[in-house]
Subunit: 354 residues, 5 copies
């Protein structure tokens, strides 16, 4: 998540609308997957350029073009031509430092979101920009690299289970957003667990590494917050668009995703509060510990420093010192020291220091 | 209240509308209680499945179906069929990590709230999700487990006291909400008492356990806040729905619950402020104590370290040292030390350290 | 002001509309004072039950019924019957943990405010809930106990001075609110003086009791804030009600009270900011003092500990030690110590420690 | 600026509309200056009572009555009668603890603002309440005492320079407000300079007086903020009043003052942020210094305390101690001490303490 | 960026509309560059006064007059006359402490923004006020000095590349704003890098200079925030103006700049949060370090002070002390000391201090 402080656009100085890829290249060659389906059948193709695409034009067909590898500017341009997309949108698609947003055009809706998920085996956190173009009977999705959270959707299309095959492109767009939003929950669970572990450690042994962990978790939460907060507007924006792109009965589903987004936002806010509370806890626990350390030092020092002084006095080499030659002098002196020490201890006890 | 950081939905990856229970199973077998009543009579049944239900269809009858044990998916599905409920609502009913909300549909209103109450004997805090379906002449309520705050309502129906039997389903829904909101007051009183005890302890003996108690009370307050805050919208939403589901004269009662909700919110905010203030108090009291400890150490050390040095000087074994052989040397030296010590004490007094 | 954390309603579990007094009983027997007046004459009665009331029905008469002792449920019920008041309002009247609010009904307006004033001789702070019912030609006011801030108004009615006798019930309600709001100013002045005293003490001798005083003043301010903040809405609400209950030319007076309320709110906010600033000041002054203490300790210790070491070395009992037998050894050693001490002092001076 | 915590109205307990002066008396006898002007000529009179005023009624004349000394209640009452002003306005005029506000009446507009300026020679900060009454062809301004920021306006009227003589009373009111707002800039510059000086001192020698200075500057900024913030509404309110009192082409000028007010508010907010930042800086710099002090103490103590112990051991008077009689014992012991000391130093170096 | 605290207008006391230059003089003589272009051709002139300007009046021509050096009041006045500009606008143009704003007039739009950029070779941060006047077929831009971020636009006009030559004056204004907004990104990147470096240093070696760096970066961010925040309104304002000044298809481009502004604001907010987090990190790391230092001191002192006391006891010169003459006394004593020291170490280990 080191991109946090680098969300800056290097396209400065270029004429608006010039296509320049911003971000790292996550995949060697772009992969294009095309699904064409209606209630009865479906076709699936994996291509490496748009020109290879065969169109089948089934009855009431929905076409889903999924492109991994947005650094391939020629592929993006081909899609732009095929679906007649405004050049500023294409510029946004390939700039991975885009804001989360929704833009309504005459014939299509353009949505930018962040997909954040845990890679299956490595438990590594992947964050990728996903752009979705929703038209009357097509959806084009743009991803930065391989791997995503859409496998469930692909399987529903293939198997014909669920409602997806019998509904239109707006439901497919909803399904993509729902899959992305759901994947946030996994991250939240991960963070929630880490916070609980942190909290236990904090009360038991507050080390200075903990403070760094809390700090970096705060940064992660900040990052998540920035990615999730504008999603409210995006989903709300989709609800407002309405006919003909978004059909009425998809609205109930969108309301459901909206609820999830709100729930994620609330959880993230809770995490922020918890982490702030933990910082306070750490500081006050530190301050308490310092107090304890100081008390021990003070007790030891205030007891022994005066005693050492007395011993020092009787170690002086004056020729005429009373008591030195007295037989019980040594024992009397030890007794005096013992009493002085005990009085000190009693005073500490009284002041609740021990 | 350990659910705080775990409010995440494990239904990720499933087709929307698939029924999966989320949460712990609090009761072995579901219990269904059905009340049918009108102004003149009432019927009460306790069942274990919806199919056993006998309908009596009294004049102007209100039916209240109360289901404890939402993990019983078949029961939920039966209710869904009987009252023709949208599958996404049923999904919400059985997911115990739902947001507090109100949703208006054509024939019914769906309300999700959290019921938080003290178990009668154990004084344990129970928090349960309650879903309420309000239709023209029925109310269905879904609870996670046994035990609730509705016994008063059941008794009013049985005894015919109060207005409940002579009014419609909207008044019953109001009564359920009112009972839930009233139960928050008991929790608030509990917390209020705990805060007062804390405050006294804090000024008398600030230990480090206190800081953990404050921290966990802050978390509880945070949790309550999240549960109560959206209730405003819920009650406000009910007021706006209006005819025919909500009758005009129920509005006055809803306004009353709304007032209670606002009062709870304000109390929770006050608690938050008080707890924050207590943290500040703890930190400054700690800092004050440290100061006291340091002063004692400094006074002891600054008085005795120089004196010990003087004693050390006269303990040196130089052959030629003036004064050692002097008869009054020892007494003079002691006098010098005494004077030095007194001067130190005087300086401390002047600087208001003692 | 200990009610702060106890604002909870014990009516939980009762049917809505049941009359139960919530709060302490401040007066033994209820006292009812009735004023009937028009521009020309006035009648004053002091009763102990509503049934004793004699009505005179003067021309264009205004009736002011003032009831002290809201725990007398039968009196409240009598008033309810006489003026045909909704039972939920009566429930609110006798529950002293009510929110500040205004509610508009068809024939009357119901207002709840807090009256906070200094008792004349004891300088004790009294806070009481006052409910005001404003009808077309009557005002009913409910107080918790004896003593209030309305003596000025009573005198204007009796003497016929000012505009009150020539105007209607809305002006009387305004006059009551104005008297209540004005009494806040006395409390504010009290707090303002206390803050100034605190501030001076804080810069001169920051003791740990001060921090407790600041904390409890913060709580008082919080309490005042909660009592005053909703008054804006109440006055604003009265302005909006308009004809026929509130006459046009009363609006100018209401605007004036509104201004006072805003001024009180601003003053309270200022107090909050000042008190927060004082906490910061205390903490930084504490931290500064600690620094000073540490410096003294460090200066003494770093000067004398090395010197004591040197003295200790020459106190060792080795048989062969150079210098011990030297005639000037002692003086040379003392000189070395002096120089070492001076160098230390010089270094401290250079580092601005002294 | 000691009025900050004393903004309370002592008119409590009086009938509304009774004229009582609130505030200090800044001038012995009231001074009334009257300007009557139109495009061609002007008349200037200095009076001590309104009855002395001679009216000239020039063509399209504007009359500006400027009254210094609002404690002279009879003068205020005379003005009230002359221009037919509502008694509540007069009450506000002579109460110097008024809120900044604008009130629109049928024939005139009433504006209250605070004039804050540096006295020319003494650089003393003066804050005065100024009330402005703007009518169709007159402006009445009320000041607390002598001295103001309106000399520029007087000179423009006298000399006929600028647009003022050819425009109406609304332009004169604008000019007065503009002069008042402009005078804030001088104060801001003063504070800005002080903040810069503070900042430099803070990084170079953070003394405890600085913290008091920061605190009192925070209070000043708070005070300014309270005086300036409502000015937005005042100017905005004037813009909304429109015809016939405010002519269209004055709107452009009002927009300009509005801009200045916003700029002042932003600057004050910046000052607040800067001062808060400085407090943090002070505290962290204090904490850093304490750390440094502690390190020095620890280094000295940890090096010399063990060495002193070793010296102490060889100072014991046991009869049989090995090494004491050894010829090189002393030197060996010194060597051991030196090595121990060097190891300590090396460890400190490694831990980056030195 | 030292202008932060000096944003004050010295025009106080002058008649409104008087032209006075506020700010430093950044260039000796003003430079006026005029571009006249349409789709087919373009003319470029560099002048030192407006009167030298030759007009060519091409078909559908756009004229861009760019003036560097706003202290040249005569030039500004000439432009004012030529394009018939309101004197208050000219006053704003030459006052470099202007607020960022947009003002709509009948025939033109007036925009004030801040241009912040890195000088090419010196990497010095330059901030300059730029005023833009957009009329139907002209754009006038006013800069404080030489050097700007418009070279790209000049090259597009000269080369005819991009869309600029075929579009109208509104596109030119958009292009100027876009160039200014894009230049912020470079600054943000610079700050972002600095923050990352700071963060690493903070966890590795927290010195007191860091805290000053954090403080000054916070001030820079504050400054940027003030410059950028109002840009939202400016761009939003341009979108609202619409026909005939702003053509429909420029709206898409404006939406794009708006997006960039939002992105910059979010990044600045992130920086603020990061810097605040770093301050917390610094303080807690300081507190941790102090704790470590105190522990070392305490461990050394509590081990050796009691041992030194024992040694001191046996260094006393009493004639009759048991054990001194014992042959093994010395070794026994050393053993006792060793055991005492080990017990101490064990206790520290148990309390997790080591």
């Amino acid at each position: 998540m080191s991109k946090l402080t680098k969300k800056v656009s290097p396209t400065s100085g270029l004429s608006p609308g010039t296509l320049v890829h911003v971000g790292e290249k996550r995949i060697e060659k772009p992969v294009i997957t095309v699904f064409e389906y209606n209630e009865k059948s479906y076709e699936e193709q994996t291509l490496s350029s748009i020109s290879e695409m065969e169109e089948h034009s089934l009855d009431g067909q929905v076409t889903w073009v999924d492109i991994s590898g947005i650094h391939a500017i020629d592929v993006i341009e081909d899609v732009g031509k095929k679906y007649d997309i405004h050049p500023l949108i294409l510029e946004d698609v390939i700039n991975t430092s885009q804001r989360i947003k929704i833009e309504e055009y005459k014939d299509y809706v353009y949505i930018v979101v962040k997909m954040i998920y845990l890679k299956e085996h490595t438990r590594e956190i992947i964050d990728e920009q996903v752009s979705i173009l929703l038209g009357k009977n097509f959806v084009v999705s743009f991803q930065e690299g391989e791997g995503d959270v859409f496998d469930g959707i692909r399987n529903w299309i293939r198997s014909g289970k669920g409602r997806i095959r019998s509904l239109h492109s707006d439901y497919l767009a909803y399904a993509l957003l729902d899959a992305i939003v759901d994947s946030y929950f996994t991250i939240l669970e991960e963070i929630g667990d880490a916070i609980e572990v942190l909290e236990v450690e904090l009360t038991q042994r507050p080390t200075s590494e903990l403070i760094n962990t809390i700090h970096s978790m705060k940064k992660q939460t900040m990052f998540l917050r920035r990615a999730i907060w504008p999603l409210r507007e995006v989903i709300g924006g989709m609800e407002r668009i309405g006919q003909p792109l978004i059909e009425d009965h998809t609205l109930t589903y969108l309301k459901d995703v909206y609820d999830h987004v709100i729930q994620i936002i609330e959880t993230v806010e809770t995490f922020r509060d918890l982490l702030s509370g933990m910082l306070d806890l750490y500081l006050s626990s530190m301050s308490h510990r310092m107090n304890e350390v100081m008390k021990v030092l003070t007790i030891i020092a205030t007891i022994f420093i005066p005693l050492t002084f007395i011993a020092g006095v009787y170690g002086m080499n004056f020729q005429y010192m009373p008591g030195l030659t007295c037989h019980w002098g040594y024992y009397i002196m030890l007794g005096v020291m013992l009493v002085a020490g005990l009085i000190m201890l009693f005073l500490f006890k009284k002041n609740k220091w021990i």
